[in-house]
């Protein structure tokens, strides 16, 4: 609380809530494969934030929030896997195998499916970069890897997406490997 009036703290929490509520719900929901459970996780993230010293958290706010969300979501997922014997495996949530009866509605669905098909770490790095707007160094903090690792994960993820989405460099005429998804 050093340097901030107490009233500011509550207002600040509300501002952070407004700004990060939706992206954190999406992020935790993605890890858990369950939007309802993601609500629990994100609520806990903000309750934790309430207990923190703003001056210490604020300079690294986004990585702090995503890190806490990630840790809690992974804990939840581990616990789920332990408890939910006989339940549809979590991996199916991010499966690359779309249900055949679901029609490809538009380009966005196409992109999201291609994203879902990436390996988990690549997908997380790509999402944190493009969907959540984090810098490599912040993603590295969140995922507990080095920024160099993040660069490689994103690079590979982008490469796979380019192949799946058919986004080829114009100078390279050949069809992308694997064709369009």
């Amino acid at each position: 609380m050093r340097g901030h009036a107490p009233e500011d703290h509550a207002e600040w929490i509300c501002r952070v809530l407004e700004r990060f509520e939706a992206p954190l719900l999406l992020y935790a929901g993605r890890i858990l494969g369950d939007a309802h459970r993601a609500q629990d996780v994100v609520q806990e993230v903000f309750l934790s934030l309430c207990r923190e010293d703003r001056s210490q958290v604020e300079p690294r706010l986004a990585p702090w929030l995503y890190t806490v969300a990630r840790n809690r979501a992974l804990n939840e997922r581990r616990r789920d896997r332990r408890e939910a014997v006989g339940v549809e495996p979590q991996a199916a949530v991010a499966s690359s195998d779309p249900a055949p009866q679901v029609e490809m509605r538009d380009a966005a669905v196409h992109v999201l499916r291609a994203l879902d098909a990436l390996p988990e770490e690549q997908q997380e790095a790509v999402r944190l970069k493009f969907q959540h707007g984090l810098r490599y160094r912040d993603i590295a903090d969140v995922m507990r890897v080095t920024p160099g690792n993040v660069a490689v994960l994103v690079h590979r993820g982008v490469g796979a997406l380019r192949a799946r989405l058919g986004v080829a460099p114009r100078a390279h005429a050949p069809a992308p490997e694997g064709g369009t998804a």
Partner: protein, 822 residues
């Protein structure tokens, strides 16, 4: 230089992740390398496509209740940081700032002795002790004394807050309050093997003075769990051993007599057994010293036992008893000795590991296992059998958690509510009736902290009373479970096919087909019902518990409600049984509308059904039931109170030769709010708005009944009604008067003449047919609350015993009640 496609630096460049120097180098390359330029463009195109597509995943929001909880926590954090005595979690340790004057640097709370850095306070300034809540005056109390202070908390500028002395701090975890004496006690080094008994005795005596649980670092819950266990009839776990510890330590001398200890009486012979040992020799050796180390006692124990005579074995048991009483069970080096002593005494060991799958320990049988583990050795066979029974229940519980997804989900939900500040202190019982989790409580609160402070006798008595109260609710809860599960089955059976409703307890709440970003409720949707035992308890909850949460207004005249805010039903039990049963079904119907609407709308949280005739009429129609003595429901649809009211209105109209107040069908279907019905009643029907609302309710029920049953139960319009219900569950907010539009479409009302035709058919039913119905003969009264022939208390059904009698009201798969418990 890598080929462009393989070069991660190009990707990093495209995404603005390179340093200025690195970026410059890449740019130089790009000038002469079109392939590299194309790669950069492609990366940016992918980035844009992903960002754009991500927007399609929507902007989910936390539930309103969760947002409120966060706001409350934020406000509370501000309050606690502003209050002295509550250290900021992230405040780093640092040198204490000493204000001038004669103020002592530290001061102890006069009540709980927690110590505070008051150096920044003005003398006489008051602050609240963060540990016990006592208001303390700075400079007025005795300065804190003694104790090692591993870290102190810096006083924030302005002296607004002070840290608790004695707290420790580390990166990421700020100072935490620990009362000093307990702190010291924990930090005291355990005695080494062979520590003289006098020293151990003194240590025990010191520990006895500490008022907190001494043998464990477990949280208060475990202590409270122990108390609950006492109340549950297993008092043996708590009583014997701790009371013994309070007794003055006994000193055993030679020959089994008791003599004052006289340390330093010369060298004792090494008490090792030899082949030519005699009882006299062992006794002589024993008498050489008034006190023995545990190691020595162990040796004597072996020597006595080796002799094997009855007298020697009696002495062995006395020595074993001594070891059990005074050896330190926390000292790992003494474990073998202690075990041998217990075995000599014929005790049975209890050592069970709570299965990893269990994360919620607040079940009576799990607490019993924990306590039995803490006690470890049992001399009383009956006590041991009780512990083993608790263990069998724990094992069965763990097995079910692993194998039964629904049971695991409801247990998890129960654990969540056990932590909910608004409910956790009530004396409540729980009942599983998939997909429902039903709670029943009085207004009595049972704060574990308050209970811990009470004298033991009073505490045990109070806990026993609370437990007794909960046991009495067992039959009530089983009845509620049966009511709600029948409602659920009826709803699915009647409307499931037409409305494409899925079992809410199926994986992902019945919708595994939703895209990954919309999938939710992986283990199913638990439906929560909270029932208070009477109106007083209901009022207590809303007026006192929720008084600051803006959730208590407008509930003065309601007999219960469903809250779209939480998705729960809140009710209380009534003296009028028929009304009580009906209103459970009524509110349960609202709850099902809400959850099935969410199920159909990708779990969107907004409840979109407006206050139309459908909202109340449908719940009134479904919530008109007949209950037989075994609590089986018949959904008759005849709402006796509405019908009786309506017949009264018709009679009065006849007598006064006035037209009874009836809303024209098309207008009636258009209303989207009670105010619209009231306004119409006042302006067009010429009646008081309040009266008009009552008539609106009656007509709403009557129209839904008509659309489902007319004529004479044949259901001429049932198919259309089911389609209309499906539309309502798919409510489209963007369509003006959606309910009316849908009604018009599903009932084929294209012209004014169509409306008139239906209106006239309904009026015939409403004004003429209903007049002839014999309300008194419609249904039998529900059985009395405490009369249920053949009821088996779920508490009696041992989950580990497959031959245990099935509990009444227990649904089959995944629904078996776990019993009434806390």
């Amino acid at each position: 230089v890598n080929a462009p496609d393989d070069d991660a630096r190009l990707t990093s460049y495209a995404l603005g992740e390179l340093s200025a120097e690195e970026a410059e180098a890449v740019e130089r390359r790009l000038e002469g390398d079109p392939a590299a330029r194309a790669v950069v463009e492609a990366v940016r195109a992918v980035a844009a496509a992903v960002a754009e597509a991500s927007a399609e995943e929507g902007t989910p929001r936390l539930d309103a209740a969760r947002r409120d909880e966060i706001r409350r926590a934020a406000a509370a954090a501000v309050a606690s940081r502003a209050a002295p005595g509550v250290p900021s979690r992230a405040s780093p340790p640092g040198p204490a700032k000493i204000a001038g004057g004669s103020m002592p640097k530290y001061q102890a709370c006069p009540k709980c002795a927690a110590q505070f850095d008051v150096s920044a306070f003005a003398p006489g300034q008051k602050f609240t002790c963060g540990a016990c809540g006592t208001v303390v005056t700075a400079g007025a109390g005795a300065p804190a004394v003694g104790g090692r202070v591993p870290g102190s908390v810096r006083v924030p500028a302005g002296g607004a807050a002070s840290g608790v002395r004695g707290a420790t701090s580390s990166v990421g975890q700020g100072p935490q309050y620990r009362p000093l004496e307990r702190h010291q006690s924990r930090e005291a080094a355990p005695p080494a093997a062979g520590t003289p008994r006098r020293e151990r005795r003194e240590r025990r005596a010191r520990e006895t003075d500490v008022d907190a649980p001494k043998k464990s670092n477990a949280p208060i819950l475990v202590g409270a769990a122990a108390l609950l266990l006492v109340a549950g009839g297993a008092a043996f776990f708590l009583l014997g051993k701790k009371d013994d510890a309070n007794d003055a330590p006994k000193v055993v001398g030679g020959g089994g007599g008791t003599t004052p200890g006289t340390p330093g009486m010369g060298q004792a012979p090494t008490p090792e057994a030899s082949s030519g040992d005699t009882l006299q020799a062992v006794e002589d050796d024993f008498k050489q010293k008034p006190e023995h180390t545990s190691k020595e006692l162990a040796s004597f124990l072996r020597r006595y036992k080796a002799l094997g005579s009855e007298k020697a074995m009696a002495r062995a048991r006395e020595v074993a008893d001594e070891i059990v009483k005074y050896a330190d069970p926390k000292d790992s080096t003494q474990q073998a000795v202690i075990s041998e002593a217990h075995l000599t005494l014929g005790h049975v060991e209890f050592k069970k590991e709570i299965p990893e799958v269990i994360s919620y320990y607040n079940e009576p049988f799990i607490r019993a296992v924990q306590e039995a583990n803490a006690q470890r050795w049992f001399g009383d066979k009956e006590q041991y059998e009780l512990a083993m029974r608790a263990w069998r229940k724990t094992e069965a519980h763990a097995k079910r958690l692993e194998e039964d997804r629904v049971y695991a989900l409801l247990t998890q939900e129960k654990a969540r509510i056990a932590r909910d500040d608004d409910f956790k202190n009530y004396n409540y019982a729980t009942h599983f009736a998939s997909p429902y989790l039903i709670f029943y409580s009085s207004e009595k609160e049972m704060s574990e902290f308050d209970l811990m402070k009470k004298p033991k006798v009073e505490r045990v008595k109070e806990l026993a009373e609370l437990e007794d109260e909960r046991r009495k609710w067992s039959m009530i809860l089983a009845e509620k479970g049966k009511i709600y599960t029948q409602l659920y089955q009826h709803f699915l059976k009647t409307y499931g096919e037409e409305c494409e409703l899925k079992d809410l307890m199926a994986p992902y709440g019945g919708r595994p087909d939703y895209p990954a970003s919309k999938r939710s409720f992986q283990d199913g949707v638990p439906l929560i019902i909270w029932i208070f035992s009477n109106r007083e308890a209901f009022d207590y909850h809303h007026k006192k518990q929720l008084k600051d949460k803006d959730q208590s207004t407008g509930l003065e005249n309601v007999a219960g409600y469903f809250s779209p805010r939480t998705g729960w039903v809140y009710l209380y039990d009534e003296a009028n049984r028929q009304f009580e049963v009906d209103k459970n079904v009524h509110e349960g119907t609202h709850q099902l509308e809400y959850w099935f609407q969410r199920q159909k709308r990708e779990w969107a949280t907004e409840f979109r059904v407006p206050q139309s005739f459908f909202g109340e009429g449908f719940a009134e129609y479904i919530g008109s039931v007949e209950m037989d003595p075994d609590r089986n429901l018949k959904f008759i649809g005849w709402n006796r109170s509405r019908l009786r009211n309506w017949q009264g209105i018709l009679k009065e109209a006849e007598t006064s030769k006035k037209k009874p107040p009836v809303y024209p069908l098309e207008e009636f279907v258009k209303f989207e709010g009670y105010h619209e019905a009231q306004a119409y009643a006042a302006s067009k029907l010429g009646v008081d708005p309040g009266y008009g609302l009552g008539v609106f309710y009656i007509q709403s029920w009557a129209l839904v009944y008509f659309l489902n049953q007319y004529p004479e139960g044949k259901g001429k319009y049932r198919v259309q009604f089911n389609r209309y219900l499906n539309d309502i569950l798919n409510y489209d907010e963007d369509v003006e008067r959606y309910g009316w539009e849908s009604f018009r479409k599903q009932f084929g009302l294209k012209t004014e003449a169509d409306w008139k035709a239906l209106d006239s058919e309904f009026k015939k039913f409403y004004l003429e047919d209903l007049k002839k119905v014999n309300v008194g003969g419609l249904a039998e009264k529900p059985p009395e609350r405490d009369v249920w022939p053949g009821f088996v208390d779920p508490e009696e059904a041992d989950p580990s015993n497959p031959e245990a009698p099935a509990a009444a009201g227990a649904p089959k798969e995944g629904d078996k009640p776990s019993g009434s418990d806390r």
